[in-house]
Point group: C2
Chain length 516, copies 2
């Protein structure tokens, strides 16, 4: 079973006596193993369509090219590799980018400080990580408000407690009460201390990427980080066809340290890419080819993920829209393109445009999550907690989505065709007009036969009515409180925690606050 | 385009002067054409798995058999066809049922009184029909209550006004204020008078099926009904493996009149079928093989649909659960089995277990609707309005779901790989760092590029907040009212309407009320 529970049974690296004592008293938090698909992917594009898009992407790279802005070193790397440089424009001869991409691994392990939480990214796996980037948070009690570090830490704790979530993520929300140039330190510290799941590094400045590496060296040990991937970070492309020096600087740090990067256009279709599906796929492929190739110019063999983050636009209001069929076409198509490149694929998430965790949020998210599974996504950022087009991280929606992620685990199992799965004895035992509730096969199998929610309402109407006729948001608010109330910090070597906190304090003291 | 709007531009059959006058003043109601898929289906089962299930289903028919209850004529038909009869048990030799099924058409036309609303059922089409059977209705104003004929008529009007809905359905809710033995007459009258979309016939007694045929003869003309399919009706199998005389009696009437039947097990997995996916598929296939074969024994060539209506069960509460991964496996797998039989496929719908049209309803329904499209369903009953495990027809959810059905139309279009779709000129025009909002390609294509909701919230946060921070249910309640307020009856020949009303009145007068 791909979703067999994994418990925190193993000792944190370098743990001393204190860690061992902490461990013995800690309650066991159940986390499912990352998903291994035993099902086919859905492929919306024909072979001919894929070839057309691939040819067109090469044409874009060769004839239009991409811009590497404020980055002479990048231009020099490209020139040396055989590209044509014209100012900041890089024109890449047909086939060159794809050839460079070939050294990127098709699958890699991202290590967690608790080895039982390591994840494999690529091939038939799916790793689920929470929402990334919202400046606001929302809950039933406090409404919509700017996010703080306290909110951030609460989300990290919820993520740690969420059975179907494999990854602690990165900027789960923006802690706006901390200076922009320092908040990455507090965020990383929270992931490292309050969770033992894998996490993401900072990308907002190359120096912050370097800080991330150094904090990992404290957590994992210098030698371990040199030889293992311990972060997967999000490198956005400035679509169309532009690579800015901030993001590329972070990519350079991570690639040089053999840490993984998601190379990802963020596209609102009709604004940053053509208003058509095939056009957007062409541009996406050209951008990812150039970005992943560049990561391999920095360090051949460094892990890189084919990222696609696409929404459509409401041409009436200009608002990005989510869970729409055109974005789904793109997500399915990009998955096919990624597999043809032999690269891990990142896309999809708990996308919705709704302001509340209401039915709209459910329709849009339900459809997007299932699409993520069927399109072959290997790393799903934003898998829970996304609200209002990504402007808001919602506490209630976080646990609602996290519960739904269980359906992906169960669907990915595929269909059991064993003799027990075929159940011919049961059909013979029950016969015409009987019922299966009491039969031997049902008794032997019912506990694991069907996915069961930990949140949604399955009660008889009368019971539900007597209990206050609660909607999903209300049930979720109860669950958030319960999870936070029962949270216990996973064991961490006291000396490591002290060194991490000292590093963060020293770094913060070394520079003035910067906002905005 | 498969979703080009079709308007009520054509004259009702047999229309006289009054109808023509009515037509000239009627407002034009836009209805999308039934979906024609330009996308592949998702196939969860391997060839080997399919063969195993098919072999097992034949074993079930040959060794266990099925019961045809209180139906000596059916037993006689089976005996004549070569089955082994033992009491009410019918054991069907391997291959016989499948051979009999071969005369059922792979695709047929169901005619509507407005020919522009005719639907093709089978092959690559998807026809969408509303919820069927709930004894209760719910709306924001009145809460949950027993359904009445007034509710029924309101749903028929909403269905007529719903752009993405192709079919008026059948028992959209149970009009519990009308006697059980008479309500089919009022329901059929409502479909015939308040809508011009195709509809379903009564199945609760063979005599009521006969009434349905006779009312169609008034609406369409006797000769037309003799030569055309004008009803698609729902024949449920009493799983496991039992065919009762009520449903079979209705099937016999419809098949004899060349009217279409959906032959459909209704299965709560773990109760009416084994608790495993492969076991449920085996039983489903055996039941459908026997049911469709029987329809062909009554009249070879009569239209029959491979039906599958499967949910899982919550083993804690015994409640049926919806939108679960195991039910999805079954729906995908049954689609593959139906296509291998060359039969149209009925499954999926706006399934949810939620008591309210909240986030749970959205998650479960959003996932189920998309599954219906990708599993190759040709006739989707319950495509909108389903709530509380089918106990409730919700007015707000009806319009919410009906809006979502637009996403299925757009997804089914597939990806446009024309020169315009490839958009290479646009990519060249905009170039690195530009934006697409004003470019020629965007201007030429934006109106039809992306699906757009008629209901959900895409507004800026501030606008939404000022307008009362409405959730989806609240927006839907506004839309229900607006649709009903602007409803206009489609034109119908006055003489036909008079004859229909006279038929209903005479039938109702001819018998005492029966309840329960």
């Amino acid at each position: 079973m791909s979703d067999a529970p994994v418990t925190t049974g193993r000792r944190a690296r370098g743990g001393g006596g204190a860690a061992r004592r902490a461990e013995r008293t800690a309650i066991s938090i159940e986390t499912a193993k990352y998903i291994e698909r035993n099902i086919p992917n859905y492929e919306v594009l024909t072979e001919e369509a894929l070839q057309t898009i691939e040819t067109n992407a090469e044409t874009v790279l060769a004839e239009i090219g991409v811009n590497f802005v404020d980055n002479p070193a990048a231009l020099e790397r490209w020139r040396a590799a055989g590209a044509e440089i014209d100012g900041e424009r890089v024109r890449i001869p047909r086939g060159l980018a794809r050839k460079l991409c070939a050294t990127a691994p098709s699958k890699f392990t991202q290590h967690a400080r608790n080895p039982a939480r390591n994840v494999e990214i690529g091939g038939n796996t799916l790793v689920l990580a929470p929402v990334y980037g919202p400046p606001f948070v929302r809950d039933v009690e406090g409404g919509r408000r700017y996010a703080t570090i306290a909110d951030f830490e609460k989300f990290v704790k919820l993520g740690y407690m969420s059975k179907w979530l494999h990854h602690s993520g990165g900027t789960v929300c923006e802690p706006t009460d901390i200076a922009v140039n320092k908040r990455h330190l507090d965020m990383l510290l929270a992931h490292m201390v309050y969770s033992d799941k894998p996490f993401m590094g900072a990308v907002t400045e190359p120096s912050r990427a370097q800080d991330s590496v150094e904090m990992c060296e404290i957590l994992f040990g210098k030698e371990f980080v040199r030889d293992h991937t311990v972060m997967t970070s999000l490198i956005n492309i400035n679509s169309p066809l532009t690579f800015d020096s901030t993001m590329m600087g972070a990519l350079e740090v991570y690639a040089a340290n053999n840490q993984a990067s998601i190379i990802s256009p963020f596209i609102v279709g009709g604004a940053m890419a053509p208003v058509s599906v095939a056009g957007t796929l062409t541009q996406t492929l050209a951008e990812v080819l150039a970005g992943v190739a560049y990561s391999q110019l920095v360090r051949p063999g460094s892990p890189a993920i084919f990222g696609t983050m696409v929404t459509s636009i409401d041409m009436n209001s200009g608002a990005p829209t989510f869970g729409t069929p055109e974005a789904e076409h793109i997500t399915y198509g990009a998955g096919q393109l990624a597999r043809r490149m032999g690269l891990p694929y990142r896309s999809a998430g708990s996308f919705c445009g709704s302001k509340l965790p209401d039915a709209q949020a459910g329709y849009e998210t339900g459809s997007s999550l299932k699409m993520g599974l069927l399109s072959g996504v290997n790393f799903m950022l934003h898998a829970c907690g996304w609200l209002e087009g990504g402007m808001v991280a919602s506490f209630e929606k976080f646990v609602m989505d996290a519960d739904q992620l269980g359906t992906l685990h169960h669907f990915a199992r595929g269909v059991d065709l064993s003799e027990n799965g075929q159940a011919m004895d049961a059909i013979a035992e029950v016969g015409p007009g009987g019922h299966y509730l009491g039969c031997a096969h049902t008794q032997a199998n019912f506990k694991n036969a069907f996915w069961r929610t930990d949140l949604l309402d399955y009660k008889p109407f009368e019971t539900w009515d007597e209990e206050g006729a609660r909607d999903t948001q209300t049930l979720a608010a109860v669950r958030v409180k319960k999870m936070i109330d029962t949270y216990q910090q996973p064991p961490l070597d006291a000396e490591i925690e002290t060194r991490l906190r000292a590093y963060v304090a020293a770094k913060k003291d070394s520079m003035p606050d910067a906002f905005g």
